[in-house]
Subunit: 363 residues, 4 copies
């Protein structure tokens, strides 16, 4: 499988930054899910560049649901979402082909596609392509909501500035969906924005860390080998442009912990349900959900496109050159990546749930 993910619920992506259309096909979603186009538009807004902390490229994201939805509800057949590209300035890119942007896929793509790749605006590697995934993800999240499963993501840390920890999970999730810049603490948000603007002013960029929680997940989902809950989520997350790390629960902190600290004590809730006192394992034991909230972190590297001069090569001419990347780009993508993470996580969860409980489960 290449540009298709999943076994029970499948996601296929296509498109290049400056081609006619980008799009996604979401297949295996149960019939009968209401498709709220307002939700899709809102999700697309969360991905769209916003203000001084983003690229100046204006994308309209005028999507069409090409199939799989009838009279406002999913039919059970593939849902194709297509988005025409507009406001593409191809000439910006043509003259720089061969000049490998450091941190970008230009050179790796050349090695893979032998010069036939559509290099304009990053081509298939462009973050632009993720807008179709976000639209698809909105439908997946609606399906999960029918079962009381919700997820949300905040910027846990950005340029050294930490957000506050999650508190009331459902309230925080709801709060985050209302924000273009998904930070729980207003004070942290201000500091993060300042860091981004500062980096932007210096022609540079910053990275960040996103933390995602999933509530309402039933226990018993995931496979010990090789489709552990963590494997499937991580597989998906490492497809999000810029993601360089995925950690569950306490993540890197496990390295400094003792087993007696790391283990999560099981307890019986007043409601008769099992829970754990701590959640260092992020809701997953042995690759299988244990009924606690699932919690994972993704590391987003600093946007590779920067105005600052960098050393590089021209792989067509085979010589060393310098590069200063002009055009429109983001000093930070962590906040825009948030909804991509949510969307793809939601689709991966739908896949695992449909595999576990059948294709009608979420319907």
């Amino acid at each position: 499988m290449k540009n298709t993910f999943g076994t029970s619920v499948c996601l296929t992506v296509f498109g290049e930054s400056h081609g006619p259309f980008i799009g996604a096909v979401l297949d295996g979603i149960a019939p009968g899910i209401e498709v709220d186009e307002e939700e899709i538009r809102h999700a697309l807004t969360l991905r769209r560049p916003a203000g001084r902390i983003s690229t100046a490229r204006q994308e309209k994201d005028e999507y069409t649901i090409a199939s799989g939805v009838f009279e406002g509800k999913t039919t059970g057949t593939p849902i194709a979402i297509i988005i025409p590209n507009a406001d593409t300035r191809s000439k910006d890119y043509k003259k720089t082909y061969g000049l490998a942007r450091p941190g970008h896929a230009d050179f790796a793509a050349y090695c893979k596609y032998h010069g036939f790749e559509d290099y304009r605006g990053g081509g298939h590697f462009s973050g632009r392509v993720t807008s179709a995934l976000v639209a698809a993800g909105a439908i997946a999240r609606a399906a999960l909501a029918k079962k009381g499963i919700y997820l949300g993501t905040h910027i846990k840390e950005l340029a050294g500035v930490p957000d506050r920890a999650f508190g009331d999970l459902k309230a925080d999730i709801d709060d985050l969906y209302g924000k273009v810049f998904p930070v729980l603490s207003a004070e942290a948000e201000e500091k993060m924005r300042a860091e981004i603007e500062k980096a932007a002013a210096e022609g540079d960029s910053v990275g960040g860390m996103l933390e995602t929680v999933i509530i309402g997940m039933p226990a018993g989902v995931g496979e010990p080998y090789f489709d552990s809950f963590e494997s499937v989520i991580a597989h998906m997350m490492f497809s999000v442009p810029g993601v360089k790390g995925v950690l569950f629960g306490a993540g890197a902190d496990f390295v400094k912990m003792r087993g007696s600290e790391a283990n999560d004590a099981f307890r019986m809730g007043a409601d008769g349900k099992v829970y754990t006192k701590t959640n260092n394992n992020g809701g997953v034991n042995g690759g299988i959900t244990n009924g606690n909230p699932v919690c994972f972190t993704t590391v987003i590297k600093p946007t590779p496109s920067i105005y600052k001069k960098q050393e590089t090569i021209d792989f067509v001419e085979n010589i060393e050159k310098d590069i200063s990347i002009e055009g429109r780009h983001d000093p930070c993508i962590a906040h825009r990546a948030r909804i991509v993470v949510d969307s793809l996580a939601a689709i991966a969860i739908c896949d695992m749930l449909a595999g576990r409980y059948g294709t009608d489960y979420l319907g």
Copy 2:
């Protein structure tokens, strides 16, 4: 897919800790690879418990290559490796069924398998099962070596003690395969062993971080969506018992970096090959290898089995209880997990290479 991984080179695992056999089927390996049984035995030794820092369970790992090898070479058909279980003391486990060991899969497995799971010694979740994967991995590593691709893993950090960084990659890789405790610095090794013994003495355990390098990887391997090189490796790594995080290149450090630091400048080598001055991206851009060494880190949580008393529940009786885990267990599994990481990474790489260059590529 459940207990099978891969599309071009496939790995299937089976077995329970106290069942008749554990085993693995490795399929899609090119015909004509020499199978060096000495190498397999050595790899199994690296996984086997050793001395005071490991469990006292003595496993002989008397494997049989049941198929797929003829006259000392791979045939191209599935290679099945079977290992009988011996020295199993099932009675240790029977009486504790229902008592969920914190940090273990017991409760999650119960939710998934409804009480039909073979609970003895962790059943299918036991680290024991990985010995068949290690044997399969030795064959995969031999296939990679024919193309000049080598990989190796050290304990980057354990209980707060860091190892030295990789230096001469090939020499370090060779060095590590000679060591049961894979640490590059003798001084660091001593400190780490002391930490493990200290935790063991307190009836506790420690976690660690493994760092793996892959050299000789051709550029152009991996898919932007959804089978990025990172996605496939991470998928596999999150199947290794105890792994809670996977990070590529600079990993979590990206969060504090600026783009100008994080980006790896491309340069032309004297040999006409492209390389990067730094390798923060761990040899992967846009999900595709760029010809640099690939570098990733896995976080291993502290062994959940500890002698210390812990709070838990009995999920059969639905009451809260305390637990002190008796029997044989490891105060640390990072060193033993090392060869599992190497083995599974090697198989994942074979899968990606065979998918990219065809089934005969590694033959």
Copy 3:
């Protein structure tokens, strides 16, 4: 996997007869294949209804290549083809929902999709959807042609009328692509057309048998278990609407043969290449190609849509009713199914070749 086929070259289909768009995503095609839009249009013409022997529905098939093609060549990323639906008379269908057309998927779809299916014009089950597959297939056939692999299909038998056997394979293949009604013998064609018109005049329909040959296939492609060459082709063929049987080589005639007749004697050609004197095995032994032309037959059932009155049920009202299917439909689809068979077979072959020889093989 649901609406996606393949492992190395993947095909995803979406769309309903009366939805906004139908489409297909063809992924894994090597970069650098020239895309001849004239060929795509010609292939679409072969699928389009023609004259008195077809439905009166006029479809324009104005396709767009939405992605994966740049400057006239494949890029190696997913090729999406989208076709807007036009000339759709939805009102014809609305009033008959619940009235199960015998031989159609109406009732089965209702059992699967619980009434949420887009029932208009057969929805996702409509032969209309195959037009996107035909466009994708034209690109796959171009890829195969670069390696000297060609395939073609004729109507072997229709309503009791047999065509002549294949003679000069390459010449016959070329001849067939020039024909909307793919029959090798002009005399047979005349008789077949007469049979179709006769059935049409009686408000009825006829079935047929298509025979496909593939020349230039290298030996050694296919897997003994479970992806035999025959398995993969048959899997694909049974997705073509109306196909109820797939047979390789001598097919059903094997039942009356002795081994001494059925076995194909191997011989050494003057060119040093191995061939067989007969080709009863259709170019495949043990699931693997043997270098001979591959030959298979597909059985196409009579078009289920007929004007004649039939007994049926209304599954909404749960009562028995009679039905006379009005509207536009084909008295025979064998000739139109031909290019669907060619297209999907070509894609399946690309998948097997890319899996065997790598993703660049056909580039």
Copy 4:
């Protein structure tokens, strides 16, 4: 995927005719299915050579369930079945390597595996390998039986001799499992046996046609594209050694039918369930089950191993030679293939049901 089939329920096969073990791994079977070893042994008996109409090779089929079964019930983890090879006379085969047996995979395997294949006794291509699949199939059939789903197969036609049609389906299925030679009519059986013995006496072999019925299948299983019920069954069937055709319902007879004959009229049963008056579509419409019995036919070619002298080549020496195949072989394999067809069909059905209704459905 190579030697692994399925997405929700997966089957992996390994082994060579004269290697240490053959085996199968059946994964995804729900936990809690009772494993009746008597049933497994009986199924193996049905595959084993019997009397004058079979090879003289005596195989004991002493299987071991290596994993996945605990206290007599499935655990939900992979069920591995291993069978040691015994009574193997490897020397019979060594001297003939290079001499391609017509109708066998020898030459095709050489093209695929480049001479590294284990050629002894057909290696991985040997029918011997199917015994592990039969053992796995017995467990799958037990799982289906819990839901009231039963299947059975008879020899529909052999060497021109037809069996009677299925009558009372459940009674016929039960009857067939009691017979080593699965024919419904005693008279037909006698004639078929006579034909086999006659062919054997002449050093030749015969082919046959198997017809399988599945009762109790729920409506709504299968996918329009590309995993139609027919696609999945056919995929599996074309992995059975000797199968050259798969036909559903009326199969090849569709070619001579009119739509008005071929269509199956829907009716309301007295029990309120929908059925069809005829079953020409074999219980499948549009790739989805319609609740009727599923019916399909597989064409088995004559055993290629015959004593009669045949023309062939030696692909090592690259010269033409004659061959008379000595050793033990079957004049007919249709009756032995029956249980392989039943077993693999049962596993494919489990896969589709688990995909549709979840992993616990059959438990």
